[in-house]
């Protein structure tokens, strides 16, 4: 018996002080729910239900207000017992819910008026008479509403009056009573001590943390909150310590700290990865993911893939999108990938070079170049294809370039360009 239903004919009227009744009941039971149609529910799971029912009746002053209680494992049976019982408290034994409903009139289940008339027309007046029918027969004749009523008549009540209570998120804190800390670096020791029980709690619950919030209580009364994320959900103490340390290293404290707390913001179950036994890389997927996670945690989002943009300048055309560590373990070849070919290797920023040119029809082509950052050696250019011209940005930062693909005497294919100021640059090479 897990539900206690309290009902009084006076509560069905508007303006009944149900909220006051519910507040009074909270002294005996942790969870109470009120329904607008004049029913009060108490969650008796884990509590001695008979004693609790009488205690609640006492609170609800049953002697003066005609309050009755029904106790059952199924809500519909508890409510029917409260409404139909002659004694102040009616108890339905576990497993007898359907039998307890059987002699009761269907009106107790509050059917729709149209449905009630139809059932009455065929002589079905009690819960037992409806429950004895076949479901298909009820559904065909009375529709979905009839099938729902049929389930209630069989004490099959899917209602969840009380939602499961989510477990409290792991939390650890420490207050400095006699002193305050003004150097953020010194807080690392406290954080290390707090992470021990925090990660142990996560491990016991079989969970991993996605995000942890570092909360610093300031001596002036304020709070400083810093969110710390890991590349992948984890319960590893060392990893979280490294991440929090990284935050503390760049943190400027506006005031002395008198308390430190760590709150786990999001968790997920530490379930094992499902994979394909015939995948040769599956056995090593977890170490790969761990290795990439460590790299991302230490060096930032270095695992990337290109996202093509539309900017005319080659150095601004590609944006690099960070990828998740688990994607490194996935692998998989692109079936449409081209055959091996020489591709452009593009310098992040063009590098200044000196160039000697010769005239060719209406333009000048480079014949020698000297990479100024790498000595004073002039390199012969055996061939030059171009120019390919780009220009734009006239209203902001204008550019105009003439690109040449040139073959050096060593055989390298380099990409040179001349800008509008007649300065020459090397922008990349093919390799």
């Amino acid at each position: 018996m897990t539900y206690v239903c309290l009902w009084s004919p006076r509560w069905a009227t508007a303006g009944a002080p149900l909220a006051d009744v519910a507040a009074a009941l909270l002294a005996d039971v942790p969870r109470v729910a009120v329904e607008a149609r004049g029913v009060v529910w108490a969650d008796a799971r884990g509590l001695p239900a008979p004693r609790l029912a009488w205690a609640l009746l006492e609170r609800a002053e049953w002697r003066t207000r005609e309050v009755r209680a029904g106790v059952a494992a199924v809500p519909v049976a508890a409510e029917a017992a409260a409404r139909s019982g002659s004694a102040p408290a009616t108890f339905v034994e576990p497993g007898r819910e359907r039998a307890s409903l059987a002699p009761l009139p269907l009106e107790l289940l509050a059917p729709e008026p149209r449905l009630r008339a139809l059932l009455d027309g065929v002589g079905v007046r009690t819960c037992g008479e409806l429950a004895s029918l076949a479901r298909e027969a009820v559904e065909v004749r009375f529709g979905a509403a009839g099938a729902a009523l049929w389930r209630l008549a069989r004490a099959d009540d899917p209602r969840r009056l009380f939602r499961p209570i989510p477990p409290e998120r792991p939390y650890a804190s420490m207050d400095f009573v006699e002193y305050e800390v003004r150097d953020a670096g010194r807080l690392a020791f406290t954080v290390n001590a707090l992470l021990g029980p925090l990660c142990a709690a996560l491990g016991e619950r079989g969970e991993r943390a996605r995000e942890v919030t570092l909360v610093l209580s300031l001596s002036g009364g304020g709070m400083l909150r810093e969110r710390v994320r890991a590349a992948r959900p984890t319960a590893e103490r060392d990893l979280w310590l490294r991440r929090v340390r990284g935050v503390l290293d760049r943190l400027v404290l506006p005031d002395g700290v008198v308390g430190v707390a760590l709150e786990v913001e999001g968790t997920e179950p530490a379930s094992a990865t499902q994979g394909d036994l015939f995948d040769r890389g599956f056995a090593t997927a977890a170490p790969v993911e761990e290795a990439v996670s460590r790299l991302v945690d230490e060096h930032g989002p270095l695992f990337v893939e290109p996202a093509a943009g539309g900017h005319p300048l080659p150095e601004r055309r590609t944006a690099w999108r960070a990828r998740e560590p688990e994607e490194a373990a996935e692998g998989g070849a692109d079936p449409f990938a081209a055959a091996p070919s020489l591709t452009l290797q593009l310098l992040p920023e063009p590098r200044r070079v000196a160039v000697r040119v010769r005239p060719r029809r209406d333009h000048a082509v480079p014949v020698q170049y000297c990479d100024l950052a790498r000595g004073r050696e002039w390199r012969e250019l055996l061939a030059a294809a171009g120019p390919e011209r780009i220009a734009g940005g006239a209203w902001e930062e204008g550019w105009a370039r003439e690109y040449f693909r040139c073959v050096t005497e060593a055989g390298a294919l380099v990409w040179l360009f001349r800008d509008a100021e007649d300065a020459w640059y090397i922008h990349g090479w093919w390799d």
């Binding site: 890389g281 070849a333 020489l342």
Partner: protein, 230 residues
């Protein structure tokens, strides 16, 4: 699962200290997917569990990206550590897991971590010079992880295989414009020299050249407003 695998590995190492992972000696080399080059490499590919040094001079990136793709097709993994940030987004076809560390030092640490994980058949480190001591460290990591680590770097210290490649200046096949002048490179001929202990071979192979499309304007002074994302 990862912890149980590592526990099993530790137990095996204690019981059988001379045992080596199955990839050592029993598995073939990491083929590049370029037949001529694979024939020139000892064991038909880049050696597993060792360092390989490739002196860049033309064709090295193309051949190694081909090797990455071949590894993926075999169901293995490949990683590319771009220490200099020169990988071009337009030409990248996802042949390997791409890592762009912020500097050369981070690139070395990144390559070591990836190689040591044991999950990659091939790791290429480009654009970061490794000193001799770092090469020792990387070599140990490669042995521990059973992976091939290729350094695109002129030095050959600690390398099981050393390669030098260059594009033959006379190996360019051009498409000419109406004036008879070079307009587009169709393909190039790459000559690679492979050296290992008691091994010296050369290979020559032809590679196409991927064009890099520019947005063109006929007149340098004319503002080209097409497609600029703002």
């Amino acid at each position: 699962m990862a912890s149980s695998v590592s526990a099993l590995r530790q137990l095996l190492e204690q019981r059988f200290p001379d045992a080596l992972p199955v990839t050592h000696r029993t598995a073939g080399g990491v083929a590049t997917g370029i037949a001529a080059l694979d024939r020139a490499l000892p064991g038909g590919g880049l050696p597993r569990g060792k360092l390989a040094a490739w002196t860049p001079g033309g064709g090295a990136t193309a051949a190694l990206r081909s090797a990455c793709r071949a590894a993926l097709e075999r169901g293995e993994r490949a990683a590319w550590v771009d220490g200099a940030g020169v990988a071009c987004g337009d030409g990248w076809r996802g042949e390997a897991a791409l890592f762009r560390p912020p500097g050369a030092r981070e690139a070395l640490a990144c390559a070591e971590e990836l190689v040591r994980s044991g999950g990659f058949a091939l790791v290429v480190l480009a654009g970061a010079r490794a000193a001799d001591t770092e090469r020792v460290r990387l070599s140990r990591a490669a042995k521990e992880g059973g992976a091939t680590l290729v350094l695109l770097d002129p030095g050959g210290f600690m390398a099981g295989v050393r390669l030098v490649s260059r594009i033959r200046p006379d190996g360019y096949r051009w498409r000419l414009d109406p004036f008879g002048e070079p307009a587009e490179v169709d393909s190039v001929t790459v000559r690679a020299h492979v050296e290992a202990l008691g091994w010296s071979k050369e290979a020559e192979f032809t590679l196409p050249v991927a064009a890099h499309d520019l947005r063109l304007s006929l007149e340098p002074a004319l503002g080209d407003r097409r497609g600029a994302a703002r």
